[in-house]
């Protein structure tokens, strides 16, 4: 009885796992085929030659994917750095310098994670057009940073309250001022929260479609996901090129996940701290 149940469990799991892998297999297979072979062969035939490099060249040539890729790389890195600095400084001050109204200030900033993005789109679109930030890299960096700061502040603040006060007291006896306290005591210990922020927020910036669509128009500022989305027009487009594009544009987040995978769980735990 027990054996049969066990075998059944494994069969169900294996079937599900195969279903989960099917799309992954399908994109890799399509990206390897030439468009000619893709059109003239069935799904069950393997690629007769590896054409992913030519497909990649075409995706670059036709859709200028590399330009948008670079834009998003700038957004993820710059936005990530601004977020890390602004949020860790604010978290440090809220926890250790404890200005008056620190809890209210925290709530005001944190409220930025509460609302759906749709709440900001129309006014941002309008303001950006008025002040000349529409379709600029600076505008996008500002928006992405602002959107990333609330959650990041929450992460840093939650982490900083766990740093023992004795360390700070010792530093104060040594005559540290607040800036030295931040740079010499708090920042060097911030690896874990910074990894969580980098993983979640840089991935989020990279994957954004909505703000890219609303706040940009040209290749000058368009992020990569908007251009990827435009590759698959009505009628399906040329699948081997598109799937190569999917792989190319997904590489940064996949690499980031592999590098920082152990922070994924701690990040999830933090983001559901209400539990």
């Amino acid at each position: 009885m027990g054996i049969i149940k066990k075998i059944l469990t494994y069969i169900i799991l294996i079937l599900l796992a195969l279903a989960w892998l099917l799309p992954v297999f399908a994109i890799i297979q399509a990206a390897l085929k030439t468009p000619e072979q893709f059109n003239n062969s069935s799904f069950f035939e393997f690629p007769n030659k590896v054409a992913i490099v030519e497909n990649f060249k075409m995706a670059i040539q036709r859709w200028k994917l590399h330009e948008f890729f670079l834009n998003s790389l700038i957004y993820a890195v710059t936005g990530g750095i601004i977020t890390i600095i602004a949020a860790s400084m604010a978290g440090f001050s809220l926890v250790r310098l404890k200005p008056r109204f620190n809890f209210i200030l925290f709530l005001i900033i944190y409220s930025g994670t509460l609302f759906p993005f749709q709440m900001y789109l129309i006014p941002l679109y309008k303001i950006f057009n008025q002040v000349g930030l529409y379709d600029t890299k600076i505008g996008m960096i500002l928006v992405y940073s602002a959107l990333c700061i609330p959650f990041s502040l929450f992460v840093y603040r939650g982490f900083y309250v766990t740093i023992p006060k004795e360390i700070e007291d010792a530093a104060m006896i040594d005559g540290c001022n607040s800036f030295q306290l931040y740079t010499k005591i708090f920042l060097p210990q911030s690896l874990a929260p910074t990894a969580v922020v980098a993983l979640f927020q840089m991935t989020w910036i990279w994957n954004d479609l909505l703000f890219g669509m609303v706040l940009t128009r040209t290749g000058n500022a368009r992020p990569v996901m908007v251009s990827l989305a435009s590759m698959s027009g009505v009628g399906g487009g040329i699948i081997p090129y598109i799937m190569t594009g999917v792989i190319f544009t997904s590489l940064p987040t996949i690499i980031l996940f592999i590098l920082l995978r152990k922070y994924f769980i701690s990040g999830m735990v933090l983001s559901m701290a209400g539990e």
């Binding site: 469990t9 200030l105 759906p116 989305a229 544009t249 996949i254 539990e275």
Partner: protein
């Protein structure tokens, strides 16, 4: 104890505060203000009070979208959430558990846009993988994304593919925190596996289950990218949810005031759902003080 300069302490908070205040909070209030106007984005806005909100109840497109959103929420709770729990329970303590875990985890690493494009190919009528498989069994080609209401369920299968892994990981985390002795003790007393699950495991998982349900519900209310990439909300606005309807009314049809009203309604729903979990968070948070 030395007191740090009070003025400096605000200086550290200023950059974060300014960015959030100017780019999120001010626009948010502006958005609420816009929702009381009839406005095409170009000509002068006309104040109509809560006219836009009344209009919502008469707008068939909005009501369809609202119904779809509810379907998304219900389906999300059944498949990615409950399915994630089931798989987590299955995976607990079996051989190759980690191997299976990493397979379900793969889709987390790619964007909704990439996911949508991949599944557009899976669902394609002529060259799609699903129809290719079905034709092996002599079945007719199916137009997955253009048949109503099949298209919404096709989208939800894709959603499940992407979301199940996250919930599974969270439930697995909760499961590993349950001491083995406790489940074994119940087994010794003659409970079967199902009874152990209902009477021992599930109650201990409750805190994590609450959070997963709240997060998944809020996320399914906010879903946009996947639908936008796969169907654009179509055909004939049949697969729209609130976030897609808001985008369409605002940026395709230039009904800015009306779009703002939809986003306010969406926000009220999302904030109300998150309130459950925010309350807990804040309660815990006040312990710092």
């Amino acid at each position: 104890m030395k007191n740090y300069n009070k003025f400096t302490s605000y200086l550290y908070i200023l950059p974060a505060f300014l960015l959030v205040f100017l780019l999120l909070l001010v626009p948010m209030f502006q958005n609420i203000y816009y929702s009381f106007f009839k406005w095409d984005g170009i000509s002068k806005p006309i104040f109509i009070g809560i006219g836009n909100y009344f209009q919502l109840f008469k707008d068939l497109n909005f009501l369809t979208s609202f119904l779809n959103t509810i379907i998304w929420v219900v389906f999300t709770l059944i498949f990615p959430v409950f399915g994630g729990l089931l798989i987590a329970v299955f995976l607990r303590g079996i051989k190759f558990g980690n191997f299976f875990k990493s397979i379900f985890y793969i889709p987390i690493t790619i964007s909704f846009v990439a996911t949508g494009i991949i599944w557009n190919y899976m669902y394609s009528r002529e060259i799609g993988i699903l129809n290719t498989f079905f034709s092996l069994f002599g079945l007719d080609k199916i137009s997955w994304l253009t048949n109503v209401p099949l298209n919404t369920f096709a989208l939800l299968i894709t959603w499940t593919w992407q979301q199940l892994g996250v919930n599974m990981v969270l439930f697995l985390m909760g499961l590993t925190s349950i001491p083995v002795e406790q489940t074994e003790a119940a087994m010794v007393e003659g409970a079967n596996k199902w009874q152990v699950f209902i009477h021992v495991i599930f109650p201990m998982l409750r805190p994590i289950t609450t959070v997963v349900i709240v997060m998944a519900t809020a996320n399914s209310f906010k879903v946009f990218d996947l639908i936008y990439v796969m169907t654009r909300g179509g055909p004939h606005r049949s697969s729209e949810t609130l976030a897609v309807t808001m985008f369409r009314e605002t940026f395709t049809m230039s009904n800015m005031g009306y779009g703002a009203a939809i986003s306010v309604v969406l926000s009220i729903i999302v904030v109300a759902i998150s309130a459950v979990y925010l309350k807990n968070m804040l309660k815990k948070d006040l312990l710092y003080y």
